[in-house]
Amino acid sequence: MLEAGPDEHTLIERVQHGDAEAFEILVQTYEPRLLAFLAKTTGSPDMAEEVAQETLVKLFFKAHTFRFRCSLFTWICEIALHTFFDLRKQRRRWLKKHQVADLGEPCRAPDHSPGPAEKAERFEVDEIVRSAIAQLSPDHQMVILLREIQGASYDEIATVMNCSVGTIESRLFRARQKLRTILTPLLESHEL
């Protein structure tokens, strides 16, 4: 299951001993992938940056707990998702308290897809898909996002979530059934 090459292995070990220089190299290696994963997951560059920042700070202080039983990136994604769920919960609580509707966040820069109409529709579909995922339980969100966005294997997801492969299989099955129930109207209305 170990995917880290010898160099990366050494690098992680150095970070585990508090080596700030090794940590910088690790961040430079993983930051673009982490930001892309978070931008897809959150749909917001601002949220992606906030979560990434929090995740990388946690990574530095939690590095000594990494046991090389899954790829480092899957482990980073798991920390990032927990961080995202917490931040989103805090934000929703704040919005509820101040009675502000959560309108989401617009993309900072336009995407490079063909036409404005198609772009708007894809944006809308993406938002519906993200909000469908957000309606799942945190465990189901975790398995769906790690599997479908990160591409982690069942073994890796089981390792980071500290449960059996059978549990992951059953969570994925249930999460997919729930997503199907939530997304059926979208699939019918958009003829996707």
Partner: protein
């Protein structure tokens, strides 16, 4: 294979985890069962939607912010370390002082409540009844006659 056993296989098939025999069983069932075939098509569409979620690609590097945060965290940790070292040095001293004070308080309370051994010896020697401390002093001190001042006290 029936519809109930087909469902979990659909999920594993989406991840390409079925062995050849399972895959062929599933395909046979899907060919014969329109309901499961519809479910399979829907699940494939949802997987496609998830895989094609767009990455806005406008997120900026957070490394400078992380560096700052780590510096702050490091400073805070050093401050906590100092506090911990200070506590580690002073806690034993405080504990010893506390124990000494408690022992002293206990000893003085016990001393006040119990009779001194010399008094016990005197009582035993003279065959006296044990008397409570501060009992009627008239038994020991002779009474003065009314109105006559004590001439034994010199007046200066």
């Amino acid at each position: 294979m029936n519809c109930k056993t087909c469902q979990p296989l659909l999920s594993r098939s989406l991840d390409g985890l079925l062995v050849e025999a399972e895959q062929s069983d599933l395909e046979n069932h899907l060919e014969a069962c329109p309901a499961c075939r519809k479910e399979w098509e829907t699940q494939k569409k949802i997987q496609h939607l998830l895989h094609s979620l767009r990455d806005p690609m406008t997120a900026r590097s957070v490394l400078p912010a992380v560096r700052l945060r780590l510096g702050d965290e490091e400073a805070r940790r050093l401050w906590y370390d100092d506090l911990e070292r200070l506590a580690r040095r002073f806690v034993p001293v405080a504990a010893v002082l506390f124990l000494a004070l408690s022992a002293f308080a206990l000893f003085s309370t016990w001393n006040r409540l119990s009779r001194a051994p010399e008094i016990e010896w005197l009582v035993a020697q003279n065959g006296l009844e044990a008397v409570e401390p501060y009992s009627d002093l008239s038994e020991i001190v002779p009474e003065e006659p009314d109105g006559v001042p004590d001439s034994s006290i010199p007046i200066h």
